[in-house]
């Protein structure tokens, strides 16, 4: 269970303990009206029972208990809300006491889909409310700690990890005279040492991402109207990436759906043989459009997704695994 959930359940148990005495048994009923799946609901129930036990409550499912605790797992667009209605038998007829805690929705859980041949799995690496174009995780050989470089239209932000949490370490501005196109896109290119190459809407940006340094860009940005060739035969729309891996004799590729940027999207695996492309395995569902898909290491790609539920831009590592 995520730590934030555990903390929220602790706070909810504290509020309940502040309302009723633990001297009598408590009948707990949990109702889910949120998008949490049954496994999560059971985890929340068990977590709450454990927290209540710490307050010396004896939890029962008997309707004759002195205190009825009806917990509803609800949600808003941005948070889960866990609402406890507390009814003491001695105050029957009165309005219940209500305790509520909220916990921000996290997209951190890994989603996976399996298929006959290709299984696609996504792992959330980074999310933020403002647009970003690409990201790169770094794990230096000297063990000095992981860093995460996030490419935005006007800067590269470097985050370092402390106790499992990314903190902004520094940023390197990107100098560009003309405004970027509205559909600005880009990705990291080569880098050796502190030198960085980024391609943003067809413009090459070079420089350093070290503290106090900046990147300079040269050229005229391209818009999305620029003509291009398709990577996957028969798929002229959507985002696509050719991976460096093979599945049997076929080259592996990933492609998004072809809806516009107001709709949910998918990433599906394809097997390329000669001039044909065959969809393989189940599609991976996403909460918003895939804005870019870039091949990474073997069998992996980086995807930037605009989550329509949260409004956040999200960066995922997407892995395609070849099965039998």
């Amino acid at each position: 269970m995520p730590q934030a959930w555990n903390d929220a359940l602790g706070a909810l148990a504290d509020k309940i303990a502040g309302t009723v005495s633990p001297s009598h048994p408590v009948a707990l009923a949990v109702k889910n009206i949120s998008s949490l799946d049954p496994g999560d609901v059971e985890a929340v129930r068990a977590g709450l029972e454990a927290k209540l036990a710490q307050h010396h409550f004896r939890v029962t499912r008997s309707a004759t208990a002195e205190t009825q605790l009806d917990v509803t797992l609800s949600e808003s667009s941005s948070s889960y809300l866990w609402v406890a209605e507390i009814r003491a038998k001695e105050n029957e007829g009165d309005e219940p006491e209500i305790a509520v805690v909220s916990v921000a929705k996290s997209s951190g859980a890994a989603g996976a889909s399996t298929g006959a041949t290709l299984a696609i799995q996504k792992t959330l690496v980074w999310q933020q409310s403002t647009k970003f174009l690409d990201f790169h995780e770094t794990a230096p050989a000297d063990g000095s700690g992981e860093t995460l470089a996030v490419l935005e239209p006007s800067r590269i932000a470097i985050y370092s990890q402390t106790a499992g949490k990314w903190d902004l370490d520094h940023e390197a501005p990107i100098a560009q005279k003309a405004p970027w196109p509205r559909d600005v896109r880009g990705n990291f290119g080569d880098a050796s040492g502190a030198a960085v190459l980024a391609m943003i809407s067809g413009v090459t940006c070079t420089g350093s991402a070290a503290k106090g340094a900046q990147l300079a860009c040269a050229g005229t940005p391209l818009t999305g109207d620029a003509a291009k060739a398709s990577l996957i035969p028969g798929r002229e729309t959507g985002e696509a990436a050719l991976l460096k891996s093979k599945c049997g004799d076929a080259q592996v590729a990933l492609a998004s759906g072809n809806a516009d940027w107001t709709q949910h999207d998918t990433i599906r695996g394809y097997l390329l043989r000669k001039k044909s492309a065959t969809a393989s395995g189940a599609a991976l569902d996403l909460d918003g459009p895939v804005l870019s898909l870039t091949a990474d290491g073997d069998g992996e790609a980086r995807a930037i997704v605009l989550n329509l539920k949260t409004g956040n831009y999200e960066g995922y590592r997407v892995a395609a695994t070849c099965g039998e």
Binding site: E75, S79, T237, D260, T262, A295
Partner: protein, 394 residues
């Protein structure tokens, strides 16, 4: 920088071709977006005051297109034309043409221009959508179903406008808690949603919609109209005399009128006499009008998706009509703070939530990447593009 970063040097060679791999999905630049609005905007000068709420709302939308930044108080700042568009032609109260700002810091908009025709009646806007004479127009929620049945492409926001019956401050002598609660119980909110709003709306129980607060389920109206009528009679049974109430509505708002008349019918079934009264346009919240009425039908737009801010603003609006604790919630208000305030206000029954309605927009087939604005946001025309080969449906 890293092993992973270095490995991607080769990938960039084919990452670039991806830029245009998506010819249909990626935006297209060009074209003129045709927009029709009901308001007649007389001036775009910041020093002038709009004549009515409709003009105020339209000015906000236009300002968001021609100014680059918006202050915390909702006003726009900077130079006119610093936003994604600049004014290229302006005929007050008739037509406004905006041209794309090539130097906009957020990137040039996709469309070359926007033509905004003003003072277009709701029925004319609907007809022009049907005839493909316009690309974008707002539709009244009660007309959404009809529009869709006639082939108009309809876009609907989350429910973000509260229709409520609010007892006026001057009614305190006539309406006890029990009377107000009885009126609330007697109202058949589902009938309003199903018949008056033609299912483009949903019964409201709380002051914030479930999708914003996550706790509206706690205020769910009674299950059936019969339950509501019985509850109202039970509450009034303790009252020796039930006062006759006057319910006001905005004379320019046919939806408010229909709802007020429906409430009068519901109330009569519960033994409460309510007469309806049309109030001058935009006067529903003015104190002079409130002296003549015991309650009014109010339409309150939700201004933020943040529960604390949204509730504070709802209460501030309601406080112009009734006595209610409208002190702003602190910026760090948590879910419990918001719920506690909402429950305290709901217990007074001075604000009676009726139904939630969304904002409804009609779009032509060629409009792409349109997303209904969330509370507090404006029409995202800078992100909209026009498909040179429109899809039959989306």
């Amino acid at each position: 920088m890293s092993r992973r970063l270095a490995a991607s040097s080769a990938t960039i060679l084919f990452a670039l071709p991806l830029v245009a791999a998506a010819m249909a999905k990626r935006p297209h630049y060009g074209g003129t977006l045709r927009v029709e609005i009901g308001a007649a905007v007389a001036s775009l000068e910041p020093s002038t005051t709009p004549a009515n709420p409709e003009e105020t709302a339209a000015r906000t939308e236009i300002d968001s297109l021609i100014y680059e930044s918006r202050d915390a108080d909702g006003t726009f700042s900077g130079a006119q034309g610093s936003g994604p568009f600049r004014i290229s032609d302006w005929q007050p109260a008739k037509e406004l043409t905006l041209a794309a700002n090539e130097k906009f810091s957020g990137g040039r908009p996709y469309v070359d221009a926007i033509e905004i025709a003003m003072n277009r009646a709701a029925k004319d806007r609907l007809l022009d959508l049907e005839l493909n004479k316009t690309d974008f127009a707002k539709i009244a929620p009660q007309d959404a179903r009809h529009a869709a049945e006639r082939g108009v492409r309809v876009s609907t926001s989350q429910p973000d406008e509260l229709i409520a019956l609010i007892f006026s401050a001057g009614s305190a002598d006539k309406t006890t808690d029990a009377v107000r609660e009885a009126v609330s119980a007697a109202i058949d909110r589902s009938a309003i949603a199903n018949f008056i709003l033609q299912k483009t709306g949903e019964p409201a129980g709380g002051l914030l919609p479930q999708w914003i607060s996550g706790t509206e389920f706690l205020f769910a109206p009674l299950a059936t109209p019969a339950d509501g009528t019985a509850k109202a009679k039970e509450l009034l049974g303790q009252n020796s005399s039930v006062p006759k109430l006057v319910l006001g509505y905005d004379s320019a708002d046919p939806l408010a009128q229909a709802i007020a008349e429906r409430i009068a019918v519901n109330a009569k079934e519960a033994g409460i006499s309510i007469t309806t009264q049309a109030l001058p346009q935009g006067a529903a919240a003015r104190s002079a009008s409130l002296m003549q009425t015991d309650a009014v039908i109010a339409r309150i737009g939700i201004s933020s998706a943040q529960p604390g801010i949204a509730l504070s603003n709802v209460l501030a609006t309601a406080a112009t009509i009734t006595e209610v604790d409208a002190s702003p919630l602190p910026s760090n208000a948590n879910a419990q703070d918001v719920l506690d305030r909402e429950r305290a206000v709901m217990k007074t029954h001075r604000i009676v939530p009726l139904d939630w309605v969304p904002q409804v927009y009609g779009l032509s087939a060629r409009v792409r990447d349109w997303k209904p604005p969330a509370p507090g946001e404006t029409w995202p025309f800078a992100d909209v593009w026009l498909d040179p080969v429109p899809q039959a449906s989306q």
